[in-house]
Symmetry: D2
Subunit: 258 residues, 4 copies
């Protein structure tokens, strides 16, 4: 029987600010198996981080660090021309900060998923990918690295000796070349729960995804990402999970998958 | 034979900025046994933190976290009216960040010393002192907490079950009531190395200090602080250490003292 | 005929973050005559500031700067022990930044209202109040300073030669000593639009307010503050304005009042 | 008789941090005619900004804003993938903040020179160059825009109707293609005062510069930049100025040149 992880970003508020309603966010925890918690550089002040960690642990969800470029005003979505050493250093800093809250609350850090522009850069730039993998491994070589399925980031992680979670997106449209459809396009984000569930099941069972141009693309994934910042995120997550389980796929935290 | 630790703040630059010359800072590492490394809130960006940790480990000096109020413009010297929970959270965050660099560089975090206004607040406010001690203990109950000798912060640390390093200052003048002479006073900082060495030895051997009004004050200390930001810091540190050793006191990292 | 201004805080998002829905915020602009726009220190990145200024100008609402302590994580609600010179400098910086957007969008900065903990500090501490008034006057002595009605901040502003807008709150409960009921109390914030309107009219027509202990307090005001961060803010603002106009009070921007 | 401006960056400390000694920085003011003052994004907290403005005005030096990407840890030297609108907004914000200090201290803002990576980006990217020019002109169309001599940034400024100061570097080596020799090269920065003076005079009198490969390059300049962060900056500035004056060139603030 095949198994797969469902992850979402979590704790992406800052101070008085939240992304959507706090109770809607908690609702997500009933359906995902892993969360990637913001570490203060694109979101997540210390109080928000502790609350997010506490909620995840209370729901038995695996906690991961979600390090980013240091750009709160841009929510970590703007690329910065930093060196690989600088990337390693900001990743080390943020993993450590989040790990302390996890330890403080009685849990154990499960994984690391770079955020936004840093995630995309790691997928395309081998030196950056290596620097990030190095940062993770130096802190704890049992940490699992999340990376875009089949990307340079995934290969660099594996080459470094880390376990890697190849990631695909249940609620994002893919282009024929394997890239995600740009968010500026109308149908980039799949908001229909059944469509997202269908895409998730196809990835998990057949290892493929249907692209925006109706071609079929190979897509192996250990984990499916659900975007937590949409209005119906919890509903989408629930439908993706139910649909996977309905076809006999076991949904579990990433440590049991890779 | 009595033993004592000598500590100084370290890695208090930020980005292109340094406090004094970088090579002068490294010189200090030959004479102190513990350093308190800035964690990003009053000083210390990630690159500076890694360099500071690496230098300390290369010199066999014990590494500690030096958490602060979040106030880079004020260098952590301005009190903020945060709650005890907020204090706990910012301390957790910063210890974690620094600990990750120490782990990454192959060392083990030794201790935690709050910085500046947070250190002073912890010495005077029991709820803050408890919150900080809790943050430290939740991460690792083997961490040693540095606190003003005999203060509420020291007692709160001990009550929480942590080992506490009572700290006195070799190069600061004391008032008759046990407080440090305000920096606005001309003789607040002792810049003469022999005078600092003399004060350090008197604290270590007789458990007392002569105040600005020539009274004598009881002063028990496990660790002596040397300020790293003065021009002759390395020279002062060397003279304090030599003078302690000359009277048969063993100078060693705090873990061997408390 | 008596005239009065209605003001609210505005543009208090940051990057991707908003306080409530953006369209609800715009709705407020139909009912208030002045807004206080965040300047980056407690809220308000540059893009948010321009949008807020543009919206205010499009609705013919007077634009003011809303400077704060530098504390994004605490939303400017935590007091910091800064010096009067530091207060003057952060206020100068923030007024300038906001004024540039107003100029850029073809408007003219109308007023300055310190935010949160800085507002409260100015009301109680004469040196801080003077420093803030000085910062305002040095930039433009035609700027109007908003201050808690009858406070030290108001007197310091008048003594400096500035026009001062004495401010009262339509939607906050007062204590018998003239202070606002602490937000930790259940009835601190008046969420019933009719009650807020009633309080606003009483202040404007009789110069008094009924306190939580049912005593009556003298309360002269040039401007009434409505809190923009509540769900029914626009409705409350509308009812306060309609009720004032119903009794013959002219609601207009502060420059016409003081 | 030909005239030219000499400018340097100024006020690039932050909080307790300084670039070099403060008195060495002041010494520079005796020899330059314009300074570009950091506005808080790569350097320059509010207190540092006021001090820098006050010193410049006291020496009769023209004050300009030196806006940057928001990247204190990277000192504004790392490119960020922001949009032209975002560039316009951060430039508006920073010019406004600095202008307020200049107004507060009784002066008048003279010019704007983008800093570091933003300066380089403006020289190469027409949309960014236009956005920055627009930001400047919207605030005050009498402000002078500094731009790399002959660059897209200079042309965009002129096209927008602004007066533009074409800038060349007295103390930087040029490559044959007109670019500055990368700082990673040994001879990128000219530290010999006589060589810098010679290059400055050649630019001013013949409109040309000798490159690292001994070719001659046309180089028209309205202003010569001296780097303020080197040990002998004041000496270099003095020699450049003396040498210019010795050949009959009048050294004056930019408003008299363009």
């Amino acid at each position: 029987m095949r198994s797969i992880d469902i992850n979402c970003d979590y704790g992406e508020g800052f101070g008085v600010y939240t992304i959507g309603a706090l109770d809607a966010e908690v609702e997500l925890l009933k359906h995902v198996t892993s969360v990637n918690i913001a570490c203060g550089f694109h979101a997540g002040d210390p109080a928000t981080m502790r609350r997010a960690v506490r909620q995840a642990l209370a729901h038995g969800v695996a906690t991961g660090a979600h390090p980013s470029f240091q750009d709160l005003a841009g929510f970590g979505r703007r690329r910065m021309s930093i060196t690989p050493d600088e990337a390693r250093d900001i990743v080390t800093y943020q993993i450590g900060a989040l790990a302390a809250f996890v330890k403080s609350e009685g849990g154990k850090l499960s994984h690391v998923k770079p955020h936004g522009a840093l995630y995309n850069l790691a997928a395309q730039d081998e030196n950056m990918a290596r620097a990030i993998a190095l940062a993770v491994r130096e802190i704890d070589d049992e940490l699992i690295l999340y990376a875009l399925a089949g990307s340079l980031a995934a290969r660099a992680g594996e080459a470094s000796g880390l376990r890697v979670a190849h990631e695909a997106f249940a609620d994002r449209m893919y282009e024929a070349d394997g890239s995600l459809t740009a968010r500026s396009e109308a149908h980039a984000v799949i908001t229909d729960a059944e469509q997202a569930a269908h895409q998730g099941v196809r990835i998990a069972t057949r290892g493929e995804v249907v692209t925006s141009s109706q071609t079929t693309l190979k897509m192996y994934a250990d984990t499916l990402c659900i975007h937590g910042d949409t209005a119906h995120a919890a509903h989408i997550a629930r439908r993706v999970r139910e649909s996977l389980e309905a076809v006999g796929i076991e949904v579990m935290a990433i440590a049991g998958v890779v």
